[in-house]
């Protein structure tokens, strides 16, 4: 393996780790905002929000379980 390849692999790990470290405070705010938004639509039982970094990109996944969809206020 060349020095360039070693540098490249190390950098990829370091940059991904830096991205993961960055949003710890933001995640709490994001979670609360998403919860508030989804409460308008669902009677939420459980919600989990996961932020990960894959190939240098943030991936946000939200899993929600709800007993029913809120339909009041929706004009048909």
């Amino acid at each position: 393996m060349t020095l360039a390849e070693i540098t490249s692999r190390r950098l990829e790990k370091v940059l991904n780790q830096d991205k993961k470290d960055a949003p710890t405070q933001i995640l709490a705010m994001l979670e609360s905002d998403i919860r508030t938004l989804l409460q308008n639509y669902f009677a939420i039982e459980d919600i989990s929000i996961n932020l990960s970094v894959q190939n240098g990109k943030y991936i946000l996944s939200t899993t929600l379980s709800a007993t029913h969809l809120k339909t009041i206020g929706i004009v048909r």
């Binding site: 060349t2 020095l3 360039a4 390849e5 540098t7 490249s8 190390r10 950098l11 990829e12 370091v14 940059l15 830096d18 991205k19 960055a22 240098g56 990109k57």
Partner: protein
């Protein structure tokens, strides 16, 4: 109205001031009216790199304190009549100059220029904010070294907080010989890792450090050609990339490469 571009990096010593000075000179060569602003308060060097330190009468702080008008503080470059430098105070007066103060100062000057290049201090604190706040575009200078690329990643993330219309990379100090031997990370890989567009590359050139000591901008050198391409890319939107490896190809190139090899 001027395009206001901040030249930043996160890591110190990677070539922000060098890029500001040389890019500014090349833009002036193209006939544009260019203002170079030293926002590295207390650690100012742009005046020295441009060779005008003896012509400095006033600085940014004097404008803010009302000791002079903004135009009076500008220093004209010795070789290019359309190139001006706005010096930073030499003393540690960082806390006396807010981002708002600087923006106000530049707003009185921006009508007279096509380009305003802001030489940003290293780091991500006050000085960074002050410079980026006044800009509408950013150039992130990075060298092909692991610590510089890592810091550039943090800078690119931080710049996302500002309403900038463009953020582009300049990869400085590229060693063509090391690229050929696989000892240096490729420019394309740096772009890929940082997920940012590139403005151009500048080769590592002894002429830059040698000639900066006598306050001259290197002309007719390899890096001078690279800076000319950078200026063209910036103004016209072309995406030309200077080939840093051309000197190291063929028989003569192999000899050059072996002579330069240090590891």
């Amino acid at each position: 109205m001027a395009r206001k571009i901040v030249i930043t990096s996160g890591k110190g010593g990677v070539g922000k001031t060098t890029v500001t000075a040389n890019l500014g000179t090349k833009l002036a060569n193209l006939g544009f009216r260019v203002l170079l602003v030293d926002t590295d308060i207390g650690l100012n060097n742009l005046d020295v790199v441009m060779g005008v330190e003896n012509k400095v009468m006033f600085d940014i702080l004097d404008i803010i304190n009302g000791k002079c008008r903004a135009k009076q503080a500008l220093v004209q470059d010795c070789h290019h009549p359309s190139l001006f430098i706005l010096p930073a105070p030499n003393s540690d007066s960082d806390s006396l100059i807010t981002a708002g103060n600087l923006l106000e100062t530049l707003s009185t000057l921006e009508h007279f220029f096509d380009y305003i290049l802001l030489d940003c201090p290293a780091g991500l604190d006050n000085g960074f904010h002050r410079a980026v706040y006044c800009a509408n575009e950013a150039i992130v200078v990075v060298t092909p070294h692991i610590s510089s690329i890592r810091d550039a990643g943090k800078v690119v993330a931080r710049l996302a907080n500002y309403p900038l219309s463009s953020v582009k990379l300049v990869v400085n100090r590229v060693r063509g010989d090391m690229l050929m031997t696989g000892d240096s990370i490729a420019v394309e890989r740096i772009i890929d890792l940082l997920g940012t567009n590139i403005l151009g590359v500048v080769p590592d050139d002894d002429a830059i450090s040698a000639l900066s000591a006598i306050g001259a901008i290197p002309s007719g050198t390899t890096s001078s050609r690279a800076f000319a391409i950078l200026a063209e890319n910036l103004h016209t939107g072309t995406k030309k990339i200077f080939d840093c490896t051309y000197r190291y190809r063929g028989i003569a190139g192999t000899i050059r490469r072996n002579l330069k090899r240090r590891i």
